[in-house]
Amino acid sequence: MGSITLQKVSKSFGTTSVIPEIDLEIDDGEFVVFVGPSGCGKSTLLRMIAGLEDLSGGRIVIDGKDMSNEAPAKRGLSMVFQSYALYPHMSVYGNIAFPLKMDGQDKGAIDKKVKDAAHILNLTNYLDRRPGQLSGGQRQRVAIGRAIVRQPKAFLFDEPLSNLDAALRGNMRLEISDLHHQLKTTMIYVTHDQVEAMTMADKIVVLNAGRIEQVGSPLDLYRSPRNVFVAGFIGSPRMNLIEGLEAAKQNAVTLGVRPEHIRISKTEGTWKGTVGVTEHLGSDTFIHVQVDGVGKITVRTDGDFSTEFGQQVYLTPEPARLHRFDANGQAI
């Protein structure tokens, strides 16, 4: 079991309030991602759940028990840190065995659990090495191994992939998702990368300046962002946000349209514009178009579409996929 409930949780450092007041329900076995720009309080929130940071107010309930004032180890959670935080003076074996040793388990049990974890994570051949002799991906796997041997109620991941290169990040993303399917344990994952959030989460919590902007499944957030912030943050390339006359025509202050929901044509369409930079990704092409009276619009089209710098094109947004926001940035 691993349900976690945050009730009116708040945090302030001195007089500065970092997290005003947050309520959140995390169900057992859920993969929840906290996502937001840097400084939005997502890591602080995770550290508060872990018990590494004191609460300024509110309660944290884990499996129905108030854990707000318990020591980190008593909460039954495991954490994987951004810097891996491995013990450099211990072997891989020693690192993975450490939490079990602290728990006072006997040597036979420790040995079995460490070897099982090493097997799951493909670390069997590296058990005698020191962390310094491993690559970044291997180190991250050791950190995960150290977390899983305790069989925690929930895993906490604090930007675990941001120190890895792009290719490795993709692999590790899959491995962590895979692990979640195998273990079915609650996972809370903090990242600033919305691609990680979209691909891994059952539930995404979008944070901004210490406040929850929206909670929902990845596709919920993609299809119906509750406000301009979520609309702009979820989805890559970013949603085009248009203000002024075009928005007013739709009875909105801000009009949002995703790059993939705009048709581009060389002959006809609603908006006339001039092609700027074109980014070819092979499978897709991102075209940045300057539209008169609307502004800069990014369009995503198939990889075979060819344009030239300065060429005239026509854009047609799909009417059913327009997002309308009021003066407060809330969806209408």
């Binding site: 872990a50 590494l52 020591a71 980190p72 180890a73 959670l77 495991s78 954490m79 840190f81 951004q82 810097s83 935080a85 491995l86 013990y87 450099p88 003076h89 450490f98 939490p99 602290m102 728990d103 150290r146 305790r150």
Partner: protein
């Protein structure tokens, strides 16, 4: 062209380096040489460098006149003892300052250091009276205590700079893994800080070994370390340069040998944090 200039500069700096090194080492070398001279040649003008009648007479004389082994034992007990007690006090203190600092941590550190800036003679009289009343004069325990106190600020400072280099996340990981505060210090912090703790220990043993002011003033014979042993060959009986030199050589030999074997640790300790 550039290459010749570099070589010439390199040579200049090398020669300069050796010259300065020799200059610093010269008094020790001269003491060493003098210890093998007779009292007559020791004060001869012009001074004789290598070509004199080498004799072990001074060492024999020093050995028969005073108990070298007793002083060495005292020196070891006082320097090692004060360093170990100092470390036991300083490790938790430095841990607290490095990993859970408050607004006043810097002030506390500065205050600790400021106690080293006061001339020790300023507290000699009160300390002497306390020692007299408590029966600590000329005891090893008393000297261990006073040397622990005077070197504690340096131990704390050195450990603090070492501990600062250890990422806090590793200690947090230990906390998540269920380590109590004590286990965190024993299993994670201390092993990671071993190089730092070792060089702090070596440096403090040397400092305590060479400390003369307090050891001379608070001991007479029973607890007198090597500093007192050397001092007993200076002025009162006239000038005995050769015997004084022999005593000095015998006094610095143990610490010199220890320093020689641990020089790698020492240099690392002294330059720590200078280059990251």
């Amino acid at each position: 062209m550039a290459r010749t200039i570099t070589t010439r500069r390199k040579m200049t700096f090398t020669i300069l380096g050796w010259a300065i090194g020799f200059l610093i080492f010269f008094p020790i070398l001269w003491t060493f040489l003098t210890s093998f001279k007779t009292e007559g040649t020791a004060v001869a003008t012009p001074p004789q460098f290598l070509f004199f009648d080498w004799t072990l007479e001074n060492y024999r004389e020093v050995q028969s006149r005073s108990d070298y082994m007793k002083h060495v034992t005292n020196s070891i007990v006082i320097s090692v003892g004060s360093t170990l007690i100092g470390l036991a006090l300083a490790i938790p203190a430095a841990w607290a300052m490095a990993f859970s600092p408050t607004k006043r941590t810097k002030d506390v550190l500065m205050w600790m250091l400021s106690t080293k800036m006061m001339p020790p003679v300023g507290v000699l009289v009160p300390l002497y009276l306390i020692f007299r009343d408590w029966g600590l004069l000329d005891t090893r325990i008393g000297l261990v205590g006073v040397l622990t106190m005077i070197n504690l600020p340096i131990i704390v400072w050195m450990l603090y700079t070492y501990f600062k280099e250890i990422p806090g996340e590793i200690l947090e990981a230990a906390r998540m893994d269920g380590a109590s505060l004590m286990k965190e210090i024993v299993y994670v912090l201390t092993p990671m800080a071993v190089p730092g703790i070792a060089s702090t220990m070596l440096l403090n043993i040397i400092l305590a070994w060479n400390e003369a002011f307090w050891t001379l003033n608070l001991s007479a014979s029973n607890a007198a370390p090597l500093t007192a042993f050397i001092a007993s060959y200076s002025s009162p009986e006239g000038l005995f340069w050769a015997k004084l030199s022999a005593a000095s050589t015998m006094a610095i030999a143990p610490i010199l040998i220890m320093g020689w074997f641990s020089q790698k640790q020492l240099v690392r300790g002294l330059t720590f944090g200078a280059v990251k």
